[in-house]
Amino acid sequence: MTQALHHDVAIAGAGIVGASVAWHLAQAGLRVAVIDAVGPAAAASGASDGAVSVASKKPGPLARLASASLLYTRDLAGQGLLAGAFHARPSYVFGQGDAEIAALDALIDKLAQIAGPVRVTGDGGAGALPGLGAAVERLVTLDGEGHMPGHKAVRAYLAAPGITPIWPARIRGLDSDDAGVTIDLGDRRLRAGHLVAALGVSTPALFPALPVQPRAGQLFVTDRGPAGTLPGSLTAAAYLVAKTDAPGVLPLPPVVIDPLTTGQFLIGSSREDHADPTRVDFATMRQLMRRAVDAFPALAERRVIRAFAGIRAAVADSLPIVGPLPGAPRITVATGFEGDGICLSALIGREVARMVQGLAPTDALATDLAALTPARFGAPLQEARA
């Protein structure tokens, strides 16, 4: 099939991963189109917290990739691209009771092993930070991490020249061959040399063989208070347990309090096996807010003005899926980032852009990136036909 190409590369999905890939390809001089069913940051990337965190990652490939991505995100912020999106700040992890105190010990060990950009700068009691409450028995202070609202990063990436936005346009099917990919948008078809599928939790609609599952998380947003009362995120050690171990019994509610630059607070989050963004409940809200207030009592003065569920794209083996689709070399997938996509987006964007251009991965990361290949689910995997 020889058809004129509309675009060198089409990116399916204008979430933070698709946007980062698009920017990196456009920087390399390729003609890129970004297609989204709704618009930029319409799914998880616009409904999440934005911790760029190494502390919360499972030891192994994920923690190493997160370290590298954190460094790279800082670079991109330093160069100006993500300056308005990424915000460096300390992170605090607190614990109460034996299980959480033990999780904090494990955290300190893990960070020492990684020897990456995140350092433990304090380990003490509630007194280490003004304004903490009785629920903080032990507080570990980390330096080097930051926060990045997903939608701000998406906006920054997509503002680059050379990117054609195509939305609202839902991709109904794909047809790939040796020379490229035909994309069915219902009312029209597009032809691109490559397709990068960054569809988040919607991945199985086009790639039924990829085992991506929805994992919802409720988030609560408060009104504005005086900014700066909490200098960084305050995370319960139970959250690390929830993210890194099999989600079994948690000692206490896994709350994360993230102060926003507006003086608002973002409080999360649960892990639930459904894909309904409107499913929020008072019981979960009370459970998380109670612990949040016990840890940071000034929150009792705030009001919750918005609540919603963001839908993470979870994978059975808890690793993202990144790489060429077996049997369809013109299609590259980048999905399954569960609760880590904001953090990993900068690095994944760079590396997927290299894959698409036929370049080798950045040396030090080759092994860890190889662990993310879709081929681990068997081959060949077929895309949904146009």
Binding site: R224, G225, P226, A227, T262, G263, E301, R302, R303
Partner: protein
């Protein structure tokens, strides 16, 4: 008509029983209720608890002055900067 006194930033303001704090303040000629975190003036706009323009601080809570019933001795202050003392 029964009356009582509330305190706005320490100043006594009379009210009638059943009246909201916003109504009492406005009758006393106080239309600006301080400053919002965005820098805008806090003031009554919708009068029925929807617009969130009239927020003030009362007993450690941020609340709509237009919904809050006045109570004798109630101490109120602007959302930011004032103590209710």
């Amino acid at each position: 008509m029964t009356t009582g006194t509330i305190f706005w930033a320490g100043q006594p303001v009379p009210f009638r029983v059943g009246e909201t704090v916003a109504s009492a303040l406005m009758r006393a000629g106080i239309a600006a209720f301080g400053t919002a975190p965005t820098g805008q003036a806090r003031a009554v706009f919708c009068g029925i608890g929807l617009c969130q323009g009239c927020l003030i601080r009362a007993e450690g809570r941020i609340t709509e002055a237009c919904l809050l019933p006045a109570r004798d001795g109630l101490r109120l202050s602007p959302e930011i900067g004032g103590d209710d003392a």
